[in-house]
Amino acid sequence: MGENLTLVQAVRDGLRDEMAEDDDVLVMGEDVGKNGGVFRATEGLYDEFGEERVIDTPLAESGIIGSAIGMAAYGLKPVPEIQFSGFMYPGFDQIVSHMARLRTRSRGRFTCPMVLRAPFGGGIRAPEHHSESKEAFYVHEAGLKVAIPSTPHDAKGMLIAAIRDPDPVIFLEPKKIYRAFREEVPDGPYEVELGEAAVRREGSDVSVFTWGAMTRPTLEAAENMADDVDVEVVDLRTLSPLDEETVVASFEKTGRAAIVHEAPKTAGVGAELTATLQEEALLHQEAPIKRVTGFDVPFPLAALEDYHLPEPERIESGIRETVEF
């Protein structure tokens, strides 16, 4: 039996169940305690587990991430929250200089099994720096895993898998779909393995690769064009490590691909996917691979954000360009 939960409730459920399961797991960050997180992702945990496991920290991302690294190296399993992914940058040095490479640098003597959670992406009419989608930064950094769920069921299972993972995981939660829909989520801890993509819709004409909040408009575009084009939609779920097998197999089947992400186009994860397909499956390719993405501009404020974010019409146009090539 399970419960019908939103994505943010599923995150909370995952944290709760894993904290109950493993005393070493703790949550820390800005406003995560009494306030239950500004998006309520940690609601109730402070009352249930107390202030030593659900810790309101000073306002200092480098301090939060850096001390979590120390805790993780010393045997705890911290799950720090950064309030918005646009505020990870003050802690960026700790992420890329230390969190990612503690295992490498100490030749395995010290490790960093922590999960850095942050709401990310646009579409909620937020102020500046509250809508960033910079997963590529973290994918680029060896030693990190990068996970982005697109459903409540996956959010809980992937989060628990991330907490149990021996390596540091950047867990980005698409806040546009925090409360957009509900899904049945099993009670108690369970894992959705990291590194496995999900084929959300089978199709034979073109493969569309996407993740996070873009999965839904992509599926919508696929439905809208179902009369004349049979679109396969693959939700990558984990961007690092990438499920190359599923991606390549899908492309070999269809011979055409589009990639949809809300992050800017240049040097985005779409570029990496395109290069991978060229390396692994060039001879199956029948058309240029089309990227439908955010633009190479800072994420705009509310008045223009709808124009920045790929939505079903734009996605459909992009897919058609590769199909009609």
Partner: protein, 360 residues
Amino acid sequence: MVRVLNEDGEVVDGAEVPDLDGDELVEMYRTMKLARRFDERAVSLQRQGRIGTYPPLSGQEGAQVGSAMALGDDDWMVPSYREHAASLVQGLPLKQTLRLWMGDENGARVPEDVNLFTVAVPIASQIPHATGLAWASKLKDEQDKAFLCYFGDGATSEGDFHEGLNFAGVFDTPNVFFCNNNQWAISVPRERQTASKTLAQKAEAYGFEGVQVDGMDPLAVYAVTKAAVEKAKEPAEGELRPTMIEAVQYRFGAHTTADDPSVYREEEEVEEWKAKDPIPRLEKYLQRTDRLDDETITDIEADVEDRVADAIAAAEETPRPDPVEMFQNVYAEMPGRLEKQLEWFQSIRAEHGDEALLED
């Protein structure tokens, strides 16, 4: 803690009333009333869905207006995201502030002749900028400008705060660091931010003066800021130019309109601080010293109402920005790749129309 007026608007023993004439004092009062009314209306516009998330300032008018009025014509102001009143004093029209919180970047465009830096949302990130601005002024041998930088109590925990103040001390830059200690950083109380007794004392670690002032006493804030601005330009022998001011105060409303303070703070606490409200405090002082009568108060209230209504009307009449603006001002000259993206975007717009692209 420096204080000029007590909670009843009486001059406290031994305090020196700053040297402002009657008109200036009434102007200070009028601006505070304007800021309060603006704030109330902005919160209500947000509730009606006419603007987006908005950070309220009620309670902080004394700190904002008192400090901003202490700046000279050539001095600069570096705000966070809550300095709507201070920015108004410095010359940013209220209409612009509204436009910004309506989600239009153009609201953050400061008029050329206004010495005001652009709003900073990442906490404490503006502090090193303020140091750099002041440092540049010093390197250019200007010697007649001070740079006033605002931030909250939470900001004092960030590395940027420490790095900015440390540079200011080392390079002896003409800075005034103004901490709006409103007791809370969203749900985290001041005690959870630092184990230091005061925030002002942090300045000591960087080698310059820190001052604690009653932030709900506009006259005290004015006096302390004025002194710091003067020292930044003309320090005494052996004295460093920068000052950190900790203005002890309270924000009556939520952190932003997206926040619900009832989860973490007691209503009693809010009521206690409301007794220190800077507006009635100055009002009583001005009445007692015969600078303000009931009739003038009524006039001011009517004037303030009109000015806020005009700002709202002007902001709402401004057309939505054209989506092409998204692509502009990213670089001095648009790179070819971006131009291609713009072209594709325009073709999609032409194909589907704006309606289809805008979510409701």
